[in-house]
């Protein structure tokens, strides 16, 4: 089975993010980056499928030079090779534009399965995988926790709201968007990190892929969110704040 996993590099979870001078993007200079969380689960699912059924796992990422480190991380965990779609104006493209780049790069690969994360932790569109399926004319299923290969194609477990699930059967080739939590994530071994250095990462530029790049929707400005409630902050040392909270719980909230 040939499996492609789309991985996005996003600001690290606890990174402090600031709006940049243009007011239309975030300050990138001091940021630390990491692999998007649900993409790590997509990669894990792909590696487990390969271990069961053999084949190849290819990772693909769209972004500037720095995303090379996230591709290497995936290779260190066990992916066989990488495709880096070099693109320095990611923030000017809409989600359809990014999906077009991925679709154009993946079409000649003719994979049996394309996995993406469910949602990126920075922009949070939750759309890229579904659109890639549409552009390539492939069936898709989203919010997937578990994938099983069958005679006819795939049986997948899809998460629904409020603790419900369903299974879906679909033929391959197909696109799945993977939800976090379905598997335990592996760490890269020292050996893996060493091997990753010798694995192939093919560079293609967004220009070479020659896709329509005029955005249909644009991000006009970024602001701090509006507060929904006025929060009473309880200052002081841990002890003082704790004592103040107990007072509130006793006399205002009346739960003790």
């Amino acid at each position: 089975m040939k499996i492609v996993v789309a991985i996005k590099q996003v600001p690290e979870r606890d990174a402090q993010v600031h709006i940049d001078a243009s007011g239309r993007w975030i300050e990138e200079s001091d940021l630390q980056y990491a692999m998007n969380e649900s993409d790590a689960y997509a990669l894990e699912e792909a590696l487990q499928l390969k271990e069961k059924h053999s084949g190849e796992v290819v990772v693909v990422s769209v972004g500037p030079e720095r995303v090379g480190s996230t591709i290497r991380e995936a290779l260190a965990k066990g992916a066989d090779r990488g495709i880096h779609i070099e693109c320095d104006d990611l923030n000017k493209r809409d989600v359809l534009g990014v999906a077009r780049l991925l679709a154009a790069a993946l079409k000649p690969e003719s994979p049996d399965l394309i996995l993406t994360g469910l949602q990126s932790d920075d922009l949070g569109y939750g759309q890229t995988g579904v659109i890639v399926g549409e552009l390539l004319g492939l069936p898709h299923a989203s919010l997937i926790l578990h994938v099983e290969k069958t005679e006819a194609g795939l049986t997948v477990k899809r998460e629904l709201e409020e603790g419900w699930f369903q299974t879906i059967e679909l033929p391959t080739p197909a696109v799945l968007t993977i939800q976090s939590g379905g598997n335990k994530l592996r760490y890269a071994t020292l050996m893996g990190i060493k091997r990753a250095k010798t694995k192939e990462v093919r560079l293609v530029t967004a220009v070479e892929l020659n896709v329509e790049s005029t955005p249909v929707v644009s991000l006009e400005n970024i602001t701090l969110p509006q507060k929904q409630k006025s929060t009473q902050m309880l200052p002081g040392t841990a002890k003082e704040a704790a004592a103040a909270l107990v007072e509130k719980l006793k006399f205002e909230v009346r739960v003790i």
């Binding site: 606890d14 402090q16 975030i26 809409d94 989600v95 359809l96 920075d122 949070g124 569109y125 939750g126 759309q127 579904v130 659109i131 399926g133 549409e134 069936p139 898709h140 299923a141 989203s142 919010l143 998460e159 629904l160 709201e161 409020e162 603790g163 419900w164 369903q166 299974t167 879906i168 059967e169 679909l170 976090s180 955005p215 249909v216 929707v217 644009s218 991000l219 006009e220 400005n221 970024i222 602001t223 701090l224 969110p225 509006q226 507060k227 929904q228 409630k229 929060t231 009473q232 902050m233 309880l234 841990a238 002890k239 704040a241 704790a242 004592a243 909270l245 719980l249 909230v253 739960v255």
Partner: protein
Amino acid sequence: MSGIWVVIEDRAGRIGRISWEAVSAAQKLASQRNEKPNAIVVGAQTESLAAEVASKGVAKVVRVEHPLLSQYTSDGFTLALEQLFRAESPDFVVFPHTYQVRDYAPALAARLNQVLIGDVVAIEDGPLFTRQLMQGRLAGSYKAHGAGPCFISVQSGAFRGETADAGTAEVTTFSPTIEAGQIRTKPSEPFRGAAQTVDLGSAQLIVAVGRGIKEADNLPLVQELATALGAELAASRPICDNGWLPIERQVGSSGQTVAPKLYLAVGISGAIQHLVGIKGSQCVVAINKDADAPIFEVADYGIVGDLFEVVPALTEALKAARH
């Protein structure tokens, strides 16, 4: 080009609150041009749903009906609505941001060379559509430039869902052409996960723990706080994903919905998928080391600090107060 449309979701024969919220967002868009929105119901037997929507301040209701739409599939819904929208050329289409909509609306929009502006929390003049970025730590305003319909989906709880009864709108039927072979996925009936042994839904006091706890070995710290308070222990998704607590203790869109008198969130950032599960709480308290964490936007009381210092202090203070 004509009009503002809203797609109603059929939740096992009922219309959920989030669909009414989508109706009210559509009404907001429509009122700017002195119009009423048109509503769409999709399925194989949509008569009663359509009748219910027809009384809620819409111009007309279109029943998109086909036997192959009896069960939701992305292929079926995309094909059916593509045909309707090609015929009607809407200006705006509003969806509720549900798991079902996330599954097909991006493909439907792409098929019409458009982009869904998803998970919208506010609509400003322009119109500009606000949605969360960076897991709720920032907000972005989006604008559509396309010539075709502008597709948006609205986040649960962002728009008021009470739409007063207002007359009876005309109901029409649209019959799309769909062949069985065009539907490539075969979904099963929904099923529940593991059996439920705790009922967080009726708990009055809840202490919830998030990834700030760092390791499973640190959980007793929060368990002791819950015990001192006489509260149930709950968690954010990553805690349950890691298997540190059973999934039945997960609060949020894919877990439990709770409505306690007190929800005390410890080391939880406040992502929307978590917050939708705690909207009914009377009082939210947050302990977080990051003063900018989105949880503070919905908290009544907040302590900015290291949970490893604040939680033990709070447990002690509670024990003392109870004696």
